[in-house]
């Protein structure tokens, strides 16, 4: 078993309205920034012990399916890498 960090990124499906992102974009514009579009996403970092990266990814994917994402409105991506040595 090796320590991995799986990363699950959950974002709204293309075309689903994101009022929080729109509000954030407007706030940036009020600060004088120029931008065309802003999208937001949630990122979850999950430390877990697994035999290999594929197993870590598979388990994180199950977590995304069961809880972290809502398939009606979300798409998600999963990746896994050996955990960074703790400082």
């Amino acid at each position: 078993m090796t320590a991995y960090t799986a990363t699950v990124t959950v974002r709204l499906k293309h075309g689903v309205l994101d009022p929080e992102a729109e509000t954030t974009k407007q706030a940036l514009e009020r600060l004088g920034f120029e931008l065309s579009e802003l999208r937001s996403a949630d990122e979850f970092e999950i430390d877990l012990e697994a035999d290999d990266a594929a197993e870590a990814e598979q388990r994180a994917e199950s977590m995304a399916e069961r809880l972290l994402a809502n398939p009606t409105i979300h798409d998600y991506e999963v990746s896994a890498a050996p955990a960074a040595e703790s400082a």
């Binding site: 689903v16 309205l17 994101d18 009022p19 929080e20 729109e22 509000t23 069961r66 809880l67 972290l68 809502n70 009606t72 409105i73």
Partner: protein, 225 residues
């Protein structure tokens, strides 16, 4: 025989629901989610509030608590289940009903009276109405925008699963009358059975005559059927 009003940490409309039901002479009691449903449960309310602080997504945590397995089983057996506001979010998150309730288009918490048009009058919740009737009920939510894919929406309509739509006082379903940007103004939907319904507006806040309108009464009497 009793209507179980399921209380999660952060529920805050549970007492209102019990009081409104008892006013209608419908026996009701609050049930802490960890205690499970009482044996004599004849109906279930999933009340409004902010269960688990709306962490992750409104309703996401409560929807995955063990009592929801019991609620799904009871719903499948024909026990009437009504999810209101946070209870509607929990209902969608738990798969009792299709779609999802997410952030209002305004990005603001909307607390106001709205008009609803009855879309299906052949359910326990709307048996006192005709299709097209307009009722006035309050909303109070930040995440009430009904979202669903167009394909699934077409199925909802084809299967007559839309219960209420936001409308103006004359029953016109317009963008202006849509308080939160819900897809096609949908305010409430039915589950697989007509006895399972979720809606963002609060019928229990429009039942006692001392607190304003009583248009919610005829929804809650669905528990008598």
């Amino acid at each position: 025989m009793t209507v179980a009003v399921v209380q999660f940490g952060g529920s805050n409309c549970d007492r209102d629901a019990v009081r409104a039901l008892e006013y209608l002479d419908i026996d009701a009691e609050r049930v802490w989610h960890e205690d499970g449903l009482p044996e004599d449960t004849t109906g279930i309310v999933i009340p409004g509030g902010f269960s688990y602080g709306d962490y992750l997504r409104a309703g996401a945590m409560a929807a995955r608590s063990p009592i929801m397995d019991e609620v799904r089983d009871a719903a499948a057996d024909g026990t009437p289940v009504l999810g209101v506001c946070n209870g509607a979010q929990i209902g969608c998150e738990s798969g009792l009903t299709e779609g999802a309730f997410t952030t209002n288009k305004s990005a603001r918490f909307q607390c106001e009276h709205v008009h609803l048009r009855v879309e299906n009058a052949d359910t326990p919740w709307t048996a006192q109405f005709e299709v097209g009737d307009v009722i006035e009920i309050p909303i109070a939510h930040g995440e009430g925008r009904f979202e669903i894919t167009e394909e699934r929406y077409d199925e909802l309509v084809a299967n007559d699963r839309v219960l209420f739509r936001y409308c103006d006082a004359d029953g016109n379903v317009t963008d202006d009358a849509n308080p939160n940007g819900s897809t096609h103004n949908v305010a409430g939907v039915l589950g697989e059975r007509d006895s399972v319904a979720v809606l963002m507006p609060h019928p229990e806040r429009a039942t006692l005559p001392d607190v304003g309108g009583t248009d919610g009464e005829n929804i809650l009497t669905g528990f008598r059927a």
